[in-house]
Assembly symmetry: C2
Homo-oligomer: 294 residues x 2
């Protein structure tokens, strides 16, 4: 199967799994469920589920087993976008080419949507999973929580808030992104590997890979934000500059940021070397992330 | 040990456990961690942890084992209060006798505090617990998620939002509270029982007890809101009436609401009969909840 076909297959099964995990739109409270579905379905590249499935593929894990952790990570990501768009945070009216959740519904509903999507992530990952030992599942839940909380993604958001209007060094910017986007991307990769009962040294290689990919993803995002149009992005372009947020493009310039992306891709590929061809999908995903820009 | 001494002991150990579970205030991002601690520590009656410990006591569970589920439930409760107080929800400036989290810090921080406290609840309950089988622990995590999400507490909040300014029947009001406060109270009791490997029929009795206690708690809360002063409550009194929210006192009148509370207490006591004296603490807690008012 070529990469694009594989990607399409995983995106489709992710959409189905999300659709099945989300409460039906006619179930009470219907407005909340409707808004939860609006925020999650029919959009997004599903990068985190793709990473989870690609990491699981190294260990020949059945896709059925990977669906739960893959969508759990995606639900955490989706909740963070809904809360991030709220007026008291980034105040963004556009997301995935549609009105943001609080614009389409209202602020109170969007707040509850984010809250309930986070819960749904843990609900999904705590459904007893066939083929995963319970002790391993507890560890996976713990890993997801650590990646999402105040020392992971939510902490990264807090650092991001504090950084608006500040001059950051490249090291400080990296620290922010390792938390804000990196933690969840790392969780996606490691959860996939945990489903395959990966040994500690394999987890270590994948952790290194994921750290590179997390930064790569952010550098590319900054380049896109600076260069692409709102129509292409499906979210407001140029908003980082408008909000005076530090980005790789601001600090390094566009050319240097692209060089950094190439270097990160190479590092990511190198980290996969021990797995040989079994890591093909992860290898291709690294390329795919970069090729969004160049 | 008399009831008040027991209660004080559990409240103190809950405070210590929360203190230990919360990130240190000097750990980055310090402002977020400071705000999380502000929102959780040094206040609250810890009703849910008390219920969890009292339910565990029926099965002679060591208090050390009960701390994790007890504070996990309390962290969910604390997150819900922080988000509930936000301007887009109840817009309340006072909580537990202090400025609400978004007043003391800012809205964006309060949003992240609630998000990170929810995550911390699942992080705490997914720490491997000595004396609990991993499969049981996965089920406990699932139970907490179901109680907190769109079909539990968060769903109850959504129903509550939709009910502002509406005329509700007593049945509709009960439906709202079974979700908004009842689900988490039920989870507190059942998690304590799960730690004692309670059999299905015991869980059924406790579920019935918890449902009565959940409603009892709300009826008493409505009576207090109508009759007590802001100083006594430590939160804004009379706000339900001011916000035109349906309450038991509005619908039934104060006298009838008190009769309902007495009846619910009796039902709750009856549900504990099969456990004899081992359920003494739960029995006393039902009394304690009622005696806040009369």
């Amino acid at each position: 199967m070529d990469f694009l076909t594989w990607m399409d297959t995983i995106q489709q099964r992710t959409e189905s799994a999300l659709e099945a995990a989300l409460p039906a739109p006619d179930l009470a409270p219907a407005r909340l469920h409707d808004a939860m579905r609006y925020a999650v379905l029919g959009g997004g590249k599903r990068v985190r589920p793709l990473l989870c499935h690609a990491a699981g593929a190294i260990f020949d894990v059945d896709s059925k087993v990977l669906d739960a952790p893959a969508i759990a990570v995606e639900l955490i990501h989706a909740y963070s976008l809904v809360h991030d768009d709220l007026p008291c945070m980034d105040d963004d009216d556009l997301r995935r080419g549609k009105p943001s959740c609080h614009v389409q519904f209202d602020e109170a509903t969007a707040l509850l949507v984010g809250d309930a999507l986070q819960t749904l992530a843990f609900q999904t990952l705590s459904t007893r999973l066939a083929g995963i030992a319970a002790a391993r599942q507890v560890d996976m839940l713990h890993l997801l929580a650590l990646a999402s909380g105040s020392r992971g993604m939510a902490g990264g958001q807090a650092i991001d808030l504090a950084a608006v209007g500040q001059q950051l060094t490249i090291g400080e910017l990296e620290y922010m992104h390792i938390h804000k986007t990196g933690a969840l991307i790392r969780a996606a990769v490691l959860l996939g590997a945990h489903c395959g009962e990966a040994a500690p040294d394999a987890l270590e290689h994948l952790r290194h890979f994921a750290n590179r990919i997390g930064l790569l993803f952010q550098v590319v995002d900054d380049i896109l934000d600076a260069e692409a149009s709102t129509a292409t992005l499906g979210k407001t372009a140029g908003k980082d500059a408008a909000q005076n947020k530090p980005t790789y493009v601001n600090i390094l310039g566009a050319r240097e940021a692209k060089t950094m992306a190439s270097k990160l891709r190479q590092d990511a590929h190198d980290a996969l070397a021990p797995f040989g061809d079994s890591a093909r999908r992860l290898h291709e995903l690294a390329d795919f992330i970069v090729e969004r820009t160049f």
